[in-house]
Amino acid sequence: MNTTSSSVKKKMKNKIRFSDEQIRCLETMFDSETKIESKKKVQLARELGLQPRQVAIWFQNKRARWKSKLLERDYSILMDNYKSLASRFEVLKKEKQSLLVQVIIQFYSLLNRHV
């Protein structure tokens, strides 16, 4: 699993990856609430054999990653909506052109009556 590195100096060999089981539990907790309270955190940490701080930081990073994903998704949706609106706009524009033509024809027809 990818971990976000910090700008702080560090040696990679000391990094510890959480086990799949640990991550699964963390993800489950995250799904119900993105922010974890102190008590639950301590409890969870105990259950998973981690430091409370580790749990806290995991949640912190997870929120950042989750926010990014959300933004990506929202952007894509908005782009789709934009494109569809733009094409509908174009249709409407052509419609207006033809209506203008009709108005002018009618107008001239009317004027012609009394020429």
Binding site: K9, Q54, I57, Q60, K93, V103, H114
Partner: protein
């Protein structure tokens, strides 16, 4: 226990080092004084490794100068190749790996920021487009209404044309109608805003390219503007007759007024469905001239429409209509 920036909150953490043996073994925690500095050394977003397991002294925050230099370098080129990396590392007294990691993280942060920025732009453009769309809808409704009114007027006319006095009345009432139509036309023939009016900054990544292509399509709906089928100017060069071309140099469209200074070149071509009324530049020569001399800028001036029907004043609009126009 969020952004641990203050030493006071850290103090509590450091109180009981090595209380539980298994923690030490498993995660290699060494709660030394340097750990405090370590914990303070969270990056701007407060992200830290998930594991948290590392030798404290290995993790130290970069100095302000180091960060400044890195940022400056990043601005020039956000990807690093080996020579640059080695050079930078040497200059700043860092490990090459540190420089590499810093750039990696920095790119990730930049990507997020860029996405946020792009989203903001897209949202603004979307809202503007939506507004323009709604305006356009209203315009079309107005036009539709106008058409109906004119049509009904036309039908009325047919019934009572023979009666002179009634005819005069009709003229008077029609004058109003026509002036109304004229002003409607006047306002509605002003150039539509279209999607290309929106100042789309260059969006990052492929999305920018997609957007750009969408807008070039919208900007110029016709490549065949030269054979505009419309009621034509007799003489495009005549100063009185010419419709001012749009700023972008689209050939004059006599039918739809393209105001000077309008930034968007709305392609105003339209096909008459009835082949009989297909007026092309070439066709008009064979066909009976049906030219509308249109005064500059305004299809129907607000004031000038009143001159349409007066005998004394020469109307500003001249036209010649063959019978089969109707």
């Amino acid at each position: 226990m969020k952004r641990l920036g203050s030493s006071s909150s850290l103090g509590a953490m450091i109180i009981c080092p090595n209380t539980t043996g298994e923690h030490n073994q498993g995660n290699n925690h060494v709660y030394t004084g340097e750990f405090q500095a370590l914990l303070e050394g969270l990056d701007e977003e407060g992200c830290m490794e998930e594991s948290g397991g590392h030798m404290a002294e290995k993790k130290r925050r970069l100095s302000v100068d180091q960060v400044k230099a890195l940022e400056k370098n990043f601005e020039v080129e956000n990807k690093l190749e080996p020579e640059r990396k080695a050079k930078l590392a040497q200059e700043l007294g860092l490990q090459p790996r540190q420089v590499a990691v810093w750039f990696q993280n920095r790119r990730a942060r930049w990507k997020t920021k860029q996405l946020e920025r792009d989203y903001g732009i897209l949202k603004a453009n979307f809202d503007a487009l939506k507004h323009n769309y709604e305006t356009l809808q209203l315009d079309n409704e107005t036009l539709l209404k106008e058409i109906r009114e004119l049509k009904s007027k036309l039908n009325e006319d047919g019934a009572s044309e023979s009666k002179v006095c009634v005819k005069e009345e009709k003229i008077v009432s029609e004058t109003d109608e026509k002036c109304k139509a004229a002003t409607t036309l006047n306002s509605l023939t002003k150039c539509d805003k279209d999607a290309s009016d929106l100042h789309l900054e260059n969006l990052n990544g492929t999305n920018g390219i997609i957007s750009a292509s969408v807008f070039t399509d919208l900007k110029d709906g016709s490549s065949d503007s030269t054979d505009s089928s419309a009621i034509l100017n007799e003489d495009n060069n005549s100063p009185t007759a010419a419709i001012s071309s749009s700023a972008s140099g689209v050939s004059p469209h006599p039918f739809l007024d393209l105001q000077n200074g309008s930034s968007s070149s709305m392609a105003c071509t339209f096909q008459f469905s009835d082949p009989k009324t297909n007026f092309t530049r070439d066709a008009h020569k064979a066909y009976q001239p049906q030219f509308v001399r249109i005064e500059e800028h305004n299809f129907f001036g607000d004031e000038s429409c009143s001159t349409f029907f007066s005998d004394d004043q020469a109307p500003t609009l001249h036209w010649y209509c063959p019978e089969d126009w109707n």
